[in-house]
């Protein structure tokens, strides 16, 4: 396994210091042996010096998962060859830098160009200057910034593995409370082998003064990444959190099966934004990340709020449904999504809004953009339970198609069991028309600018939900993702 110098630069810029943290130097101990069995689960748990209760929880999940084998969810619209779960590494930690990082010359120039275009890592440095960051590199968190400053306010922001040691009571109380280990095939797998991720706790009455952010990086070959993030906003608190993801270009597909759990208590709010830019595969559909992720939030408290915003431009396949369980009365769930599929990318994404409490409200705005041979499906569930008096939902799903070989699909499920509920669903599908392109070009914009202007206009409602600097980043990402899709 080689750590590219570009990646190291990124991590350095993120951590603002030397790459000197205690990574094991022995190559053999960098990886767990290939494959998956109970010993691997024990290996990971031991590597992380976990308490017995967590090991037992993992084992329970593992045994449950073995009962599910070959029962991957088949109901989504995505297609891929069967995954050989024994042919992957479930734990990888970076080696020390001097052990032979690739020189920049060895890095695929296409990748470098992409990064130049994105302005990463240089821009990353600027953007992240005022943001607290947890950098997760393959299976482990390599550094967390601003920890001390946040600790003064009682905020916990640290790698998951550290939280297990430092705040075991919090972890034990909330882990699996929103996404149980038996939830679904990939969440169960994650529960057995998850390696690291971020942990956040905002104490009562505290408004987190800065954006918290996790930067996920898959680097090693043939390695699955299974991170686990848990965010708890205690009563009257607020936090805005952002995750970014990148991975190198590789010919083989790599699995990323994360779980994110959010909990808000009375009057608390969590804003969770994702800019997902895992490697999407090449233009012929070779390689790329399988992004099979379970994200769910529980608005446990009254008047609490959880808002998901996602910009999904990467991954060969995206399968994720960031959802909200609206348990507390008057609680609010939001889902704002832009998903882009170009070339042979597939996305089956959407949300579930489960209304349980009275006067609960949810808003779903989904923008799917398909180009090339991309297939993009919105799949969403709005469920109003019998006691959810006065529940309201507004859903808007828009699909934009570029070219003739792509597809956009909308699969909304609506289940209403309370007669006072009000549920609205609007959907549209459109193509970028030749008329629009000509109009823009007649004003002097070239074809790529014209597509960019039209697509950004289409996504505007979602981008407005992102913090300013990330909205700019998201726009650029979109431009890069759609490059060459027209003309």
């Amino acid at each position: 396994m080689a750590v590219s110098s570009e990646t190291l630069e990124t991590v350095r810029s993120v951590t603002g210091g030397e790459y000197k943290y205690g990574f094991v130097t022995d190559i053999e101990s960098d990886f767990a042996p290939r494959g998956l069995n109970e010993d691997i689960v024990r290996f990971i748990s031991a590597k992380k010096e976990e308490p017995d209760w967590l090991l037992q929880w993992r084992l329970k999940a593992y045994r449950f998962w073995t009962g599910l084998e070959h029962e991957e969810p088949k109901w989504s619209k995505v297609q891929h060859p069967p995954i050989d779960f024994q042919d992957a590494y479930y734990y990888a930690a970076p080696k020390e830098a001097k052990d032979g990082p690739k020189s920049l010359d060895e890095v695929d120039p296409e990748l470098l160009r992409t990064y130049e275009k994105l302005g990463i890592p240089l821009r990353e440095q600027e953007v992240l200057a005022g943001v607290a960051v947890d950098a997760v590199f393959d299976s482990i968190s390599v550094a967390t910034t601003y920890k001390e400053k946040l600790a003064e306010l009682g905020i916990v922001f640290c790698p998951f593995s550290e939280a297990v040691k430092e705040h075991p009571d919090l972890v034990q109380k909330y882990l699996g409370s929103v996404v149980p280990y038996s939830d679904n095939f990939y969440a169960t797998l994650n529960s057995a082998v998850f390696s690291d991720g971020s942990f956040v706790y905002i104490p009562p009455g505290v408004r987190c003064p800065m954006e918290l952010s996790t930067y996920f990086r898959i680097n090693a070959a043939n390695t699955g990444q299974f991170e686990r993030t848990l965010i708890i906003a205690d009563r009257d608190s607020y936090v805005s959190y952002l995750e970014g993801c990148t991975a190198p270009m590789r010919d083989e597909n790599q699995l990323h099966a994360a779980v994110v759990e959010l909990v808000t208590h009375d009057n608390a709010e969590i804003k969770y934004a994702t800019i997902q830019n895992w490697y999407p595969g090449d233009k012929d559909g070779k390689g790329g990340i399988y992004n099979f992720v379970t994200k769910r939030g529980a608005c446990r408290g009254r008047n609490s709020k959880i808002s998901w915003t996602q910009v999904e431009t990467g991954s060969a396949i995206t399968w994720k449904y960031p959802s909200v369980i609206l348990q507390g009365d008057n609680s609010i769930g939001e889902f704002y999504s832009v998903a882009v599929t170009n070339n042979y990318q597939q996305a089956d994404t959407g949300t579930k809004m489960i209304h349980i409490g009275k006067n609960t409200r949810s808003t779903i705005i989904s923008k799917g953009i398909s180009a090339g041979h991309g297939q993009n499906t919105y799949r969403g569930l709005v469920r109003v339970m019998p006691k959810a008096k006065g529940a309201r939902n507004y859903t808007q799903c828009d699909s934009l198609l570029i070219g003739d070989s792509c597809g956009g699909h909308t699969v909304p499920y609506i289940e209403v069991r309370n007669p006072t509920a009000r549920v609205e669903h609007e959907a549209s599908a459109s193509k970028i028309s030749d008329d629009q392109l000509f109009y823009c070009r007649q004003r002097g914009l070239d074809l790529e600018d014209a597509v960019s202007v039209i697509v950004n206009g289409f996504c505007k409602e979602v981008f407005q939900k992102l913090p300013m600097e990330f909205a700019v980043e998201a726009q650029k990402l979109l431009d890069v993702s759609l490059e060459g899709s027209v003309g």
């Binding site: 028309s433 030749d434 008329d435 629009q436 000509f438 109009y439 823009c440 070009r441 007649q442 004003r443 002097g444 914009l445 070239d446 074809l447 600018d449 202007v453 039209i454 950004n456 206009g457 289409f458 996504c459 505007k460 409602e461």
Partner: protein, 255 residues
């Protein structure tokens, strides 16, 4: 004044059907020309061929713009060279504010001309002046391009964009249609404000009434894809009086 545009023996077809059948037209800098003709005579086709819209196939002839082969240029290259088309039916672009759209276009053209780009403040200042002249609300800038605009607003928006982009050759495709008399006067003022010795305007219209307010140097009658008669502004009045039929017959005879 120098020659700006020269159209020589221009033949074009759309979906295999011949529409333009040997257009000859020369426009000098500083001039305002009007092309008039009945429906189906090829007026809009001429506008689209000059601006480079796809699907309009030139089968013969050439168009020289400031010494360059216009037909070899992409639509955006033509726009950057100074050709502006005010659309008969302006296109909606949802979610894109008029100011964002127009600011990027203005700065692309300014870069092309070697001028410095306008920053947000300068752009806004200039836009407000032009809007005021066209008696349009400033709120207009934040509305998405052409979305939800009334017919009259769309036409005024085109003239506003033209004022901001300062083209060398403005082609107005039935800009007068669908305007009431007050709006027509305002739009005409906007067009007149852009008249200068370096620039030229080609008005394509069905009716003579716009020409009461924007007085042309030359009027051309288009029928069956050819210019069948050229004259001064009095030709428009003659047309109004006699109708197109007389000229139509003449062109058929010629054919």
């Amino acid at each position: 004044m120098g020659q700006l545009l020269e159209i020589k023996n221009l033949h074009a077809r759309v979906e295999g059907k011949a529409i333009l059948d040997g257009i000859e037209l020369t426009i000098d800098a500083g001039e305002v020309h009007a092309v008039m003709g009945p429906n189906g005579s090829g007026k809009s086709t001429l506008a689209y061929v000059l601006s480079g819209r796809e699907g309009y196939e030139v089968t013969e002839g050439e168009v020289i713009f400031e010494g360059k082969d216009l037909l070899a240029m992409a639509p955006e290259e033509r726009a950057r060279a100074g050709i502006f088309l005010a659309f008969q039916y302006p296109i909606e672009i949802p979610g894109v504010s008029t100011s964002v759209f127009l600011k990027s276009a203005v700065n692309i053209l300014r870069r092309e001309r070697g001028e410095s780009e306008l920053d947000a403040m300068d752009f806004l200042k200039r836009a407000k002046e032009k809007l005021a002249a066209l008696r349009m609300d400033q709120k207009f800038l934040s509305r998405p391009v052409n979305v939800g605009f009334s017919g009259g607003e769309k036409k005024r928006s085109e003239i506003f964009q033209m004022a901001m982009l300062e083209p060398k050759l403005a082609i107005l495709d039935e800009t007068d249609s669908g305007l009431d008399i007050d709006a027509l006067k305002i739009v005409a003022e906007g067009i007149n404000a852009l008249r200068s010795p370096e620039k030229a305007t080609l008005m394509i219209t069905h009716y003579q009434r716009l020409l009461d307010y924007v007085v042309p140097d030359k009027v051309h009658v288009l029928a069956h894809g050819r210019i069948v008669k050229t004259g001064g502004k009095e030709l428009a009045l003659e047309l109004e009086e006699k109708g197109y039929a007389a000229f139509d017959a003449a062109s058929k005879d010629a054919a």
